[in-house]
């Protein structure tokens, strides 16, 4: 009880230190919790979105590659044991004309589903005619579309007008993608999407208690070639490929917050132990054993860990709300509310206390074993040399381990499934080895800095250097956190900037059309766009000044067992030359494309271990078909899980109608006038017009989110680094209290004392630069290599001198700024009291 109240009062007596330690735990817990929750929410939202689309159906039958099929098989499906109903529907994407750009909506045409929907009618009535539609209540309200209003849909049959006859609540199928669903009659849907007598899906409801897997197997055995049965949520799987890069970025941020948080805890705990040495020595002197001291300190850490965990979860919740919003912008879908799954809570509950205990275990044991006499007498303790040598040995071991791990990763020796779990721990161990090795390197670096700058800094600088060298371990650890801040900024920054440059170059090479015409902005959730009438090609080609019009369709298919996107595009010699070829001779690749071969994304080739000349199995309406691989291209659609086919080849294989995007090329001399004409064409039909510049701007906007992530990352690491500096310099000032008082009493002005402390910060920052820059660039290079392994995208590595220099300047400035408070405190010491300080 008494030791507990001692612990409590120690927290109260040192609120700053307590809050700093808590801050470290909160940073770590909040980072891990928020990112786990965001990733879970995003992944689940995808699966839920497609599950919503299926309503109560647990299975669905669709055609391979999408598109329509004869609904006659529904009768046979309904007779399968365990099946309650199998009602054919049409589900296709259309553009909802609203404001400047059409919005992508899912059009659902089903006689029966209207009955389901009827239960959820908020107002109005059911559909009675083919020109009537139902909208989802919240979607309609957000667009200010009222009941009885007229709405326009962009479809393969052109732009059609409908009357809104009712609104439904956004649940079940109506909740798909935030309510972006339009209900029409089955007949109307067939007309809109030119599906004469056909449907696009048969959702299958099972009787309660039926074995879904058994029913699935039975149905699969009965289906004709070109049809497949699947779980509705599985449609979200393709999106997971696109999410991988974002998730890797978030995992890296999570790792950084863990390392940074642990370091803040370690740093503030070491400071706290430093301040309390005498108190602990008294406890030892009066009979408290080292084991009891260790337990006392660990209990303190545990209490802070639990409190930090609670606060961290709260902060993490707010952070994940912001992250989810960021993901919504990046992915272009509505993620709904946070998915409060139990696992992130369990992880946070374990992580806070465990992180606090791990970060404080070694210092606690060490503090408890210190001989009390030296601390009672206020003497400098021995043994920091042995600690430094232990740290450097451990650092070397961890460094060698992480280097071997990274090498294995880069060389592809690690199984694919383990790769995504290993990337973050490898990053952590790499950073930790740097921190552990820094105290050994620090004295040498400090000597070099003193030689270089000693003369410039005068007496204040020399005194500053002496104080730092007196506590080489502490100084080394502080330089280490600055070094880590630099390593993270340079490596992540350089890596992200290289990727962004690559994406921009890719979009510049690949998207050469002057203008694009589409039904709405492509959304990741659909994987397919709004289909426009094929007849529109001739209308666009007839516009004066238009040289060529090419078509592009995006089809979601199965290739080699993987969900992939087929980019079915009409090529000519000029457009084929724009492919960003990563493997294969350009001429042979283009010839192969025209001859019916496929050109696959590098990620897909790597995943399926395919090479040029291999045959890629594709599931099509006509059963499994094999296409030869003519080459590999760098491709960012669906995270590289994509392949190009000449549109005629794709039509032959997948038998689809309509066009997702028209790409318009203008004659060079009349570009501006053509743009105006194409825009007017789009405006008159409620279509979306995008110039090449606008398209690039949209890519840049999407990249803006990633740049924002980079700034956030840099802010976190530099805030943590500044906390480390404040801690160390505060401790130095405290230890120097008497010395500062002597200096003040015999010679120095307040400003000189202030300068002396600021020079300490500058010296620490300068010492962190050489290893920080070297490790940062090395890590950036390794990350670049591992990106290729993990995502299958080779990205050219550039080291940007300007960016690296900017990070160094930021490091120096932040070091200087963080030293301001301790410097001010040192300069304002009361001389008489400070002379008596022990």
């Amino acid at each position: 009880m008494m030791l507990r109240s001692y612990t409590y009062r120690e927290f109260i007596r040192r609120p700053g230190r307590t809050l700093l330690t808590l801050g470290g735990i909160v940073i770590g817990v909040a980072g891990v919790f928020a990112i786990a929750l965001t990733v879970h929410t995003t992944r689940n939202a995808y699966r839920q979105m497609f599950a919503d689309l299926a309503g109560r159906a647990e299975l669905e039958v669709v055609a391979d590659g999408g598109g329509g099929f004869d609904p006659e098989i529904a009768a046979g499906l309904a007779a399968v044991p365990g099946v309650r109903s199998a009602r054919p529907v049409v589900r296709m994407v259309a553009g909802f004309v609203s404001g400047s750009n059409p919005l992508g909506v899912m059009v659902v045409g089903a006689d029966a589903s209207a009955d389901d929907v009827l239960d959820r009618l908020v107002s109005g009535r059911r559909i009675e005619a083919d020109d009537e539609i139902l909208l989802v209540d919240n979607f309609a309200r957000s667009l200010h579309v009222a009941e009885q209003a007229t709405a326009r849909l962009v479809t393969p049959s052109g732009v059609k007008r409908f009357r809104v006859v009712g609104l439904v609540e956004p649940t079940g199928i109506a909740g798909f993608n935030g309510g972006a669903v339009v209900f029409v009659s089955l007949q109307a849907a067939r007309q809109l999407f030119k599906l004469s007598g056909q449907v696009t899906a048969i959702p299958i409801e099972l009787v309660p208690g039926a074995d879904a897997e058994a029913v699935r197997a039975t149905i699969a055995s009965q289906l004709p070639a070109g049809m497949l049965v699947r779980s509705p949520a599985a449609r979200g799987d393709l999106a997971q490929h696109s999410l991988l890069a974002a998730e890797q970025g978030l995992s890296a941020l999570s790792a950084v917050s863990v390392v940074a948080g642990a370091f803040v805890i370690l740093n503030s705990f070491l400071m706290s132990l430093g301040e309390r040495r005498r108190q602990l020595a008294i406890l030892r002197a009066i009979g408290v054993t080292s084991g009891q001291i260790t337990r006392l300190l660990l209990r303190e850490a545990l209490v802070l860990g639990v409190v930090g965990m609670i606060v961290g979860v709260a902060v993490g919740l707010v952070t994940s709300m912001l992250l989810v919003q960021g993901m919504e912008r990046l992915l272009g879908i509505e993620l709904r509310h946070l998915e409060l799954a139990p696992m992130p809570f369990v992880e946070a509950a374990l992580f806070g206390p465990v992180m606090a205990l791990l970060a404080t275990l070694a210092p606690s044991i060490r503090a408890a074993k210190r001989p009390p006499l030296a601390d009672l007498l206020g003497l400098q303790a021995k043994g920091s040399d042995s600690m430094v040598s232990k740290m450097s040995r451990l650092g070397l071991a961890v460094g060698i381990g992480s280097t071997i791990g990274v090498t294995a990763f880069v060389m592809g020796w690690i199984p694919r499934e383990a790769q995504k779990f290993l990337a973050t721990p490898l990053l952590c161990t790499f950073l930790i080895s740097g921190i552990l090795l820094m105290p050994t390197l620090y004295p040498r670096l400090a000597r070099v800095m003193r030689l270089l700058f000693g003369r410039l800094w005068g007496i204040e600088g020399r005194l500053a250097a002496r104080q730092l060298e007196r506590n080489a371990t502490r100084s080394g650890l502080t330089a280490a956190i600055l070094c880590v801040a630099l390593v993270i900024s340079i490596s992540m920054g350089q890596s992200i900037r290289n990727s962004i440059r690559d994406i921009e170059e890719w979009s510049e090479r690949t998207f050469t059309a002057d203008y694009m015409v589409r039904g709405c902005l492509p959304e990741l959730s659909y994987s397919i766009g709004v289909q426009l009438p094929e007849s529109m090609h001739d209308e666009l080609a007839a516009i004066k000044g238009v040289e060529k019009v090419h078509e592009l369709n995006l089809l979601q298919v199965k290739a080699g067992g993987e969900d992939v996107v087929v980019l079915a595009r009409s090529f000519d010699d000029r457009t084929a030359a724009t492919l960003d070829i990563a493997a294969g001779e350009r001429v042979a690749v283009i010839e192969g494309l025209f001859a019916g071969d496929a050109v696959v994304g590098t990620a897909l080739a790597q995943r399926l271990k395919l090479h040029i000349g291999d045959r890629l199995p594709l599931r099509t309406r006509k059963g499994e078909q094999h296409v030869r691989i003519a080459g590999e291209v760098t491709e960012y659609v669906a995270g590289g899980m994509a392949l190009y086919l000449e549109r005629k080849t794709a039509k032959r294989l997948f038998d689809f109608e309509g066009v997702d995007v028209y790409m318009v090329m203008a004659h060079k001399e009349s570009t501006l006038g053509v743009g105006e004409a194409v825009r007017a064409f789009c405006d008159s039909r409620g279509l979306m017009f995008q110039s090449n510049a606008q398209f690039r701007e949209r890519i840049r906007q999407m990249m803006g989110g990633i740049i924002g992530f980079l700034w956030l990352l840099m802010a976190v690491v530099f805030v943590v680094a500044s906390l480390g500096i404040v801690n160390t310099l505060t401790m130095n000032v405290m230890e120097q209290t008497r010395e500062i008082a002597v200096l003040r009493s015999v010679a120095m002005r307040r400003s000189q004392i202030r300068l002396m402390v600021l020079y300490q910060a500058l010296s620490l920052s300068l010492c962190s630069l050489p290893p920080g820059v070297a490790m940062g660039l090395l890590l950036a290079f390794l990350m670049n290599l591992s990106t290729h392994v993990l995502l299958g995208q080779p990205v050219e590595f550039h080291a940007e001198a300007g960016f690296v220099l900017g990070c160094c300047v930021a490091c120096l400035l932040i070091g200087w700024a963080a030293a301001w408070i301790p410097a001010r405190r040192a300069s304002r010491l009361e001389i008489v009291a400070a002379l008596q300080y022990e």
Binding site: I286, G287, S290, Q292
Partner: protein, 250 residues
């Protein structure tokens, strides 16, 4: 040969060196010393003569280079760190020049802490702490924090903490060094009083008038005992009677 049960501390050939080469200092250069039970021994000498080193070695806070120390017949140099801690917790009371109270705890809590740590129920520990406070005349200051007390009061609390465990030996390192004359005299009266009640004390001091309160003054120089004398007949009698009738050890 002296009966070991009547000897509180027995020191033989004690050596302790600090530093090496030109900075080498022989703090203790082969010292022999016996302290009988119930005796109040003051150790004097100039700075660097080895008096504080002697105290630290007897308290088990430091290890000698050579020689032996027996406390109540037990060779403390054979004890592990935890065993030394238990020795301090149960048998040695320590009083420092800088008081060394825990700032976060009240006077009562500071005194009862070693007892609680040793497993004494908290209520009992508190009662014993209150008795110790009564003994040093500070019963009304039990709930005060160290910073709310004068230096003299803090030192009396430190003495109470040392006495609360009923030690067989009380070690005091310059207990009046940080006090003014009035408070210093009060502390010395207190120490004299507890010796009169049977306590053994080994005290290091610079102050001759405070040393004169002891039964015996041992003077050190360069790690050697240069003078060892018993004071006044009456106090000598007290000491001798203690030697004849050893007090039961706690």
């Amino acid at each position: 040969m002296t009966d070991s049960s009547r000897i509180a501390v027995e020191i033989r050939g004690l050596r302790k060196t600090f530093g090496s080469g030109v900075t080498r200092v022989d703090a203790l250069a082969g010292m022999d010393l016996d302290i009988p039970v119930g005796q109040f021994v003051a150790v004097m000498g100039p700075s660097g003569s080895g008096k504080s080193t002697l105290l630290h070695l007897v308290a088990g806070l430091d290890r000698p280079d050579a020689g032996g120390i027996r406390v109540s017949g037990q060779d403390i140099l054979t004890l592990s760190d935890d065993e030394l801690t238990l020795l301090r917790r149960r048998r040695l009371g320590l009083v420092f020049q800088a008081f060394n109270l825990l700032d976060a705890l009240t006077a009562t809590e500071n005194i009862s802490l070693p007892l609680v740590v040793d497993g004494v129920p908290e209520r009992d520990a508190q009662r014993r702490a209150e008795r110790a406070l009564e003994r040093v005349g500070l019963v009304q200051r039990g709930q005060h924090l160290p910073k709310e007390m004068s230096g003299g009061e803090q030192q009396r609390v430190a003495i109470a903490r040392a006495l609360a465990i009923e030690p067989m030996l009380l070690l005091a390192d310059e207990p009046t060094g940080n006090l003014d004359t009035h408070n210093g005299d009060q502390v010395m009266q207190l120490l004299r009083q507890v010796v009169n009640e049977g306590q053994t004390i080994l005290m290091v001091t610079h102050n001759p008038s405070h040393a004169a309160v002891a039964d015996r003054i041992v003077t050190l120089r360069d790690g050697h005992i240069i003078h060892d004398r018993l004071l006044g007949d009456e106090r000598a009698r007290v000491a001798h009677s203690a030697l004849e009738t050893p007090r039961a050890e706690s």
